[in-house]
Amino acid sequence: MNSTLILSIAAEARERRDARHDAWFRRLLLAAALLVVLALLGAALATLWGGREVLFGQGLDFLASSRWDPVAGEFGALAPVYGTLVTSAVALVLAVPMAFGVALFLTEVAPPWLRGPVATAIELLASIPSIIYGMWGLTVFVPFMARIEPALSATLGRLPLVGALFQGPPLGLGLLTAGIVLAVMILPFIAAVMREVFSSVPRELKESARALGATTWEVAWHIVLPYTRPAVIGGIFLGLGRALGETMAVTFVLGNAFDITASLLMPGTSISSAIANEFNEAVGLHRSALLALGFLLFVVTFLVLLAARLLLRRLARREGTG
């Protein structure tokens, strides 16, 4: 009688000890998980705090002015913001159809034995460090672009409306070159999402269309794409988020000129390359302006990535219920 009592007391004590340990363990894990949230919050607050002089001191002038003159102490975000938006837009215009083509090739066209190796190779593009893209861009791609830019000016440059985009001296460096390098960098991300969601389309849908006589292309365009649209757009936004924040690849090939030009062949700058180029030499207001640019970049990419994840989740949820 006595010994069972002692045993049950011991068991109870152990249970209580285990419960206490579990509670601490759980708190420790939770703290680690909250560090992830803290990292994002910290990045936003730190750049906001660092850029407060410019963000709150100049307010909308900072966003509206295109003058960037560290010597005179004048800082306007328009030129780097313009460069970031234009290069990212060029990258999307090129990478989205290419990624669609790659996904189409890998899911519908290529023989099965070819799919694995080609998909791996395309994914390798994503694992090459961005500094390598920058070096390759500067030493190989810029001279290449300098050679074909006269031809671009002579053909596309003659067209109405879009012609103005392709005017200018054949420098090789510039917004178009940066946009193309970015396109190659984000291609694997968009293509991977597209490939994954394309293969998630129910067989019945595709086979029904086939049975009605649709060609492979018609199945892809009229069945697969509409079915996966939210996730495809999510994948595109994911690529856009990457393109907006990419630094090293564009810094080398952009030309570092604080100008706003209609022509894509002219050199420009971007938020990230302005920060990379100038931050270590910047003091005072200049440094504050660069941190404010960093804050802008963070907010914009955060919103783009937020939209991307929400869109990607929509298809996953439909798959779960369907």
Partner: protein, 288 residues
């Protein structure tokens, strides 16, 4: 197909699929060009001096200090990111699988995964470098530790995500069996589930290393750079990507050659790590 009554639709189909093939070929051509140029130019400047001399000697020097600095900072970054990431991933998989907070953290982790690395560098500059400068009265400013923290922020979300996914793949029967024996949750997580998911978790750490090893932007304003060899984590520290960045910006072709040799080193390292991670994951998935 040749006798199709709809030649126009067949033509559109052939054209579209053909363009898909062309797009893939163009993507592969870019990959081939990048790898070919890196290999060719890197091999041209490859030599023992790369590993024995330091970057203070410029064109006559090597990258020894940068290689050492990169290794040190990468290891420090992993030492920070791996435990935190594994714990956070374990929380997501075991304690917050379907909770609202868990969903939010998982969501934010995915965003951190693609957040611009240069902003994370600025964050560490404001949150680590500036306070350290102030507290030490300028004796310590840019440092290897700050660089490692910035790199850890790059690697962290990769580890969190893989750990979360890998732990969730462990069959529920493991948990039921262990809990029915009266094992407390913390022992279950650390000694049963993590052991079962170990290859997957290691894969995540390798992938994180592959990602942070090539990062340049977050190191520029945290570790800065150093032409000499240092083992002091509170000193400015050289790194391979930053030296490559500086050398490529330099007009001297001799420095470009060294930069390409460094680029070959990094690319090889990153691609091998990726392959190793892939192989490990494959073995893990196919083993019963």
């Amino acid at each position: 197909m040749s006798a199709s009554p709809y030649p126009r639709r067949q033509f559109t189909n052939a054209l579209a699929l053909g363009l898909g093939g062309v797009a893939t070929a163009v993507g592969l051509a870019f990959l081939a060009s990048i790898l070919w140029v890196t290999l060719g130019r890197g091999m041209a400047a490859f030599g023992p001096a790369l590993f024995t001399k330091i970057s203070a000697h410029g064109a006559e020097g090597g990258l020894a200090n940068a290689i050492l600095g990169s290794l040190l900072m990468d290891l420090m970054a992993l030492a920070i990111a791996a435990p935190v990431g594994v714990m956070a991933g374990a929380w997501l998989a075991e304690h917050a699988r379907s909770s609202r907070l868990g969903a939010a953290v998982r969501f934010l982790n995915d965003i951190l995964l693609s957040a611009p690395s240069i902003v994370l560098g600025l964050f560490v500059y404001v949150a680590v470098v500036l306070p350290m400068t102030r507290w030490s009265d300028g004796a310590v400013s840019f440092s290897g530790v700050a660089g490692a923290i910035a790199l850890a922020l790059i690697g962290l979300p990769v580890i969190v995500r893989t750990t979360d996914e890998m732990l969730r793949l462990v069959p529920g029967a493991f948990r039921e069996a262990a809990l029915s024996l009266g094992i407390p949750q913390w022992k279950l997580t650390t000694q049963v589930l993590m052991r079962a998911a170990l290859p997957g978790i290691v894969t995540g750490v390798l992938l994180a290393l592959a990602r942070l090893a090539g990062e340049t932007a977050p190191l520029l304003f945290t570790a800065f750079g150093n032409p000499f060899t240092t083992l002091d984590p509170l000193d400015k520290m050289a790194s391979l990507p930053v030296v490559i960045y500086q050398y490529t910006n330099d007009p001297s072709p001799d420095l470009h050659a060294i930069a390409w040799a460094g680029a070959l080193l990094i690319t090889t390292f990153v691609l091998l790590l990726g392959l190793a991670a892939r192989g490990l994951l494959h073995r893990h998935r196919t083993s019963p």
